[in-house]
Symmetry: C3
Subunit: 341 residues, 3 copies
C-alpha cells in the first residue's frame, strides 16, 4: 500500500482485505469495550478547507481512540493560502508539525497535489467531485460485516445502487472497490441525466460482474441483498434538469413501501448520509427509522473502526494494537440509539 490514501484506485485487493481485517480488530475499541494508547504522542492535522462536521469528527475521534492528539482546522479562512501560499508550501509546513494529515478540499486533485510534497501520510477526506476513499472503505466494511451477521456471502450478491449516480463520488469509489471481489449482480437506477459514467460501467463489466441499468424503481427486483441510496443533490443541477426532474423525483425514494414490495428480511439499506429529512425530500424516507434493515447508523458507526484501521496501517502500528488494550471503565450504553441500531 502506498504511503498515502488518496484514491481507491491505488488499492489492490490485498490492501482492501488488510484494511477490512484491521478494522475488525479495532471493534473492541470502537465499541468502547477496550482502549489503546498506541499512538500516544502522535499528532494528526485534520485540515478541512471545506466544512464537513461528520467526517471531521469521525477522523478526529478515530485518531483519539488510538491515543493520539488532533489539531483541527475548518473553513475557508485558511489564512496563509489566502495570502497566496501554495499547496506545496502548506504541505511542507504542516508536515513538520504533525504525523499524519487528513485533508478535505473543494477542488478535485488538490489533496493529491498536497500529498505530492510530503512523505507524511495524507488521507483524502474528500476533494470536491473527486474521491472520498475512506467512505467507500467503510461502506464495503459495512456490507462485509452485515453479511457475516446474516450468514451471507459477498460472491453472487445483488446490489442496487440508486439516486445520483453521476455526481455521487461515493458510489463511484464503492463500485470500484466492489469490482475487486468475486462476481456480483449490480443494478443501477438513476433519473435520466444522472446515470453512472460509462467508463465505470465498462470497468465493472470487464471484471466479470453482471451490471444492469434502469431508470425507475417501479419495476421488479429479485433478491436484493443491498440497497444503497444516495441523495440527489439539486444544487448540482442545471435549470433544464431541474424542470425535467421535478416530475420524477418521487420515483427514486426508498421507503417502507419499496422495501415491502422488493426486499427480503435480510436486505440491508445503506446511505452515505446526510439524508434530507425535510418533508418532500427525494431521499431515503424516515418511515424506515426503526426497521432493523436500515443499516445507515451502523454504517456511520463503522467509520470509526475503518478510519482507525487506515491510520494504523499508514502509521504501521497495526501489529501493536492488541498489546496495548485496556478495559474501558466508564459507562457505555448497551444500545446507543433509542431505537435498534
Amino acid at each position: 500500500m502506498s504511503s498515502h490514501l488518496l484514491s481507491v484506485d491505488s488499492l489492490e485487493r490485498e490492501n482492501v482485505d488488510h484494511l477490512l481485517r484491521v478494522a475488525a480488530r479495532m471493534e473492541p475499541i470502537a465499541q468502547r469495550r477496550r482502549i489503546t494508547r498506541v499512538l500516544e504522542g502522535a499528532v494528526l492535522g485534520n485540515l478541512f478547507f471545506e466544512a464537513s462536521t461528520r467526517t471531521r469528527v469521525s477522523f478526529n475521534a478515530a485518531f483519539c481512540r488510538l491515543g493520539g492528539s488532533v489539531c483541527d482546522t475548518t473553513g475557508f479562512t485558511f489564512s496563509s493560502m489566502a495570502k497566496g501560499e501554495s499547496l506545496y508550501d502548506t504541505s511542507r509546513v504542516m508536515s513538520g508539525y504533525v504525523d499524519a494529515i487528513v485533508m478535505r478540499h473543494p477542488e478535485q486533485g488538490s489533496v493529491a497535489e498536497f500529498a505530492a510534497a510530503t512523505n507524511v501520510p495524507v488521507i483524502n477526506g474528500g476533494d470536491g467531485p473527486g474521491e472520498h476513499p475512506s467512505q467507500a472503505l467503510l461502506d464495503l466494511y459495512t456490507i462485509d460485516k452485515e453479511f457475516a451477521r446474516l450468514g451471507k456471502k459477498l460472491a453472487g450478491a445483488h446490489i442496487l445502487l440508486t439516486g445520483d449516480l453521476k455526481y455521487g463520488r461515493t458510489v463511484h469509489s464503492l463500485i470500484k472497490l466492489l469490482s475487486l471481489y468475486d462476481p456480483l449482480r449490480i443494478t443501477l437506477v438513476s433519473p435520466p441525466g444522472l446515470e453512472m459514467p460509462g467508463y465505470l460501467i465498462d470497468l465493472v463489466a470487464s471484471r466479470g460482474h453482471q451490471i444492469e441499468q434502469r431508470d425507475t424503481l417501479s419495476c421488479d427486483f429479485s433478491d436484493l441483498d443491498v440497497v444503497y441510496t444516495t441523495r440527489i443533490q439539486k444544487e448540482r443541477f442545471t435549470t433544464e434538469m431541474n424542470e425535467s426532474f421535478s416530475g420524477v423525483s418521487q420515483d427514486f425514494i426508498v421507503d417502507r413501501a419499496f422495501l415491502d414490495q422488493h426486499c427480503s428480511p435480510t436486505t440491508i439499506v445503506m446511505h452515505p448520509l446526510p439524508r434530507d429529512s425535510r418533508s418532500g425530500a427525494n431521499d431515503l424516507n424516515v418511515d424506515l427509522n426503526g426497521d432493523p434493515r436500515l443499516a445507515i447508523f451502523r454504517q456511520t458507526d463503522n467509520g470509526i473502526p475503518m478510519r482507525m484501521a487506515i491510520f494504523a496501517t499508514l502509521l504501521k502500528v497495526e501489529d501493536l494494537i492488541e498489546e496495548n488494550m485496556r478495559p474501558v471503565r466508564w459507562f457505555v450504553p448497551k444500545q446507543i440509539g433509542v431505537l435498534d441500531r
Copy 2:
C-alpha cells in the same frame, strides 16, 4: 439521575447534593494540584451550534482534566444540518463517534430533541431562552463553597437576584435549584417589564421560601448574603421598552456604593458573566474589581469542578477519581489573577 442533563427540572435534591459532593472531590484536580486520567480513551463531542467561547472552553477543559479527548464544533456552519439533516440523524451519527455530548443550540427544546435519539449522555450547554443547567449548578456550588469558607449556612440566607429576571435563563434555573433547599429569603429586583415569571415565584413560595419583589435597588435591604446580578440584554428589548428603560437603567447597577450602603463584609457578589465593562453599561460595575466580596471569578473557576462532576456522574466514574490521582509537576501560580480571587 437520568442519563442526560437537560434541565434542572429533572434533578431531585439528592442528585444535586451528589453533584455538589463530587464537585468538591474534584477540587484537587481543578486547582491543579493533582491530575487524573480516569477518562483516558473517552471522547467528548462538544457541539456548539451557537458560539460561546467561555462555556465551550470550560466543558472542554473539564473533560481534558479527567483524561479524555474532545472534538469541538462551533458555529452555524454545521454542514449536514444545512443540507436538511434532522437532529435525530445528527444525534444518532454523533453517538457512534463519541462517549458524551455537550450541545448548545439557539432553539429552545432542540437539545432535548437531540437527546431523545440517543443513550449516550447529553448535556444541555444552553438552548436559547431555555435551560443552561450546568451554570445553575456551578452557581449553587459557589454559594455552598463561599458559605462554608465564611462559616455561614444556607438555611435562612437572604439572596438578592437582580437585573433581567424575565429573560435570564440563569436565574430561572438557579431559583429552581435553591427552592429545593431549606427555607430562604429571596428578594427579586428588576425593571418594570423584566420581572421574574409568575409561575416561578409561585413555585418557590409553594416550597416554603419567603419571596419579595421590588422595582428598584434604592431601598433598604437587610442582611444580604448573596447579591446575584445579571446583565440586562438590551438586544431582547422592544422599542417601547428601550424608551422606558433608558431613564432607569442606572438604578440597577451593583457597584461599590451599593455594597457600602447595603452589604456586610460577608456578602458575596455573583454574576453569570460576561458582564459589559464598557463605560455606561448597566451591569455589575468594575469599581468592585479587587473587592474580596466580588466572587465572579471564583464562580467561573467553579465551572471546572462542577462540569467535571457532571461528566463523572453521567459516565459513572465518580468512584474511580481518587485511585487515579497523581501530583501535578508543572508550575501553578499561587494566585492566578493579579488581584485576589
Copy 3:
C-alpha cells in the same frame, strides 16, 4: 525570565541561551524519535482572535508533543468580547480554565493587557504590528542550528535582511535578539518607504554591530551567511506607495539568479512564511525549491522544538523532559518532504 513571553524586549541574553539549549534538548521529540508526557493533565488555551493556521497549529502541536491537551479558539466571533466583556475579565476567566495561554490579537498591546490580569503564563502569538517573539526565537534557533551544521560561528557573520523592514514585526524582533550576541555585520535592503525604523538601527549600532542600509539588491554583497527575506505586504500600502512601488518590486526578489551571483554554498535563505507563490509575486522565488540552502522548511520545523522549549520553561518542567522520554513506535518518514529539507 518573566512569567509571560510578551516581547523579546524582556529577554536577557541568558534567557535566550537557555531557550536555545532547551530547544535542542527537545529535538528527539520534535523529530519524532521520542515521546514525552511531562505535561499530561495540563491544558493550553490557544486563543486566536485573528486567524493564523500555521502559528496556531504549531503551538497546538508543540503542547501536545509535551503530553498536554489544547482548547482552540479561532476568529473574530469571540462571543463574550462582542458583548462588551473586557480583556481583563476574559483573562481572569480563561486563567481559571487552563494552565497556559497563547494569544494572537489584531491590536498591538492587547496581549500585554490580557497578561496583566493573570499569573498563568501568557505567550504573545502576535499582536498586530506589535510583537511575535516565538517567531524571532525560532529564527535565531534556526541560524544557530544551521551554523552548527555548517561549522560556522555566529560572531562576525554577515546577515542580510530584505523586504518590508518597516512593518515586518518579525525582523524587528529578530534584529533585537541578534543584537544580544557577538558583533555581526547586518545589511538591510528595502524599498524606499519601507526602511527599518531608526530606533532599531541605533539600538543595534549601539551594541557594537556593523549595520548598513541599501535600497536595492542589485549591488555587491560579500560573504553572505544568512539571507532573511520578508514578504512585502501590499495590503499595508498607501495609494501613493502602490504607485511608486510597482516599478521596483521585482528588484527585491530573492531567487536562484541572486544566489548564483551573491551567495556561497554555505549561505542559508530564510523567510518567516507564508510566501506568495503566485506568478508575479514579489517574494522569495519558488525556483529555489530543492536548493539545500533554502532553509525555510527547516525553519518552520524548528517552531516545534522552540515552542516546546518556551512552554517547558514557562511551566518549569524543562528538567523533567529526559526522565519521561519513550521511543516512538509509529512510522516516521526519513525525509518528510519529497525534496531535501
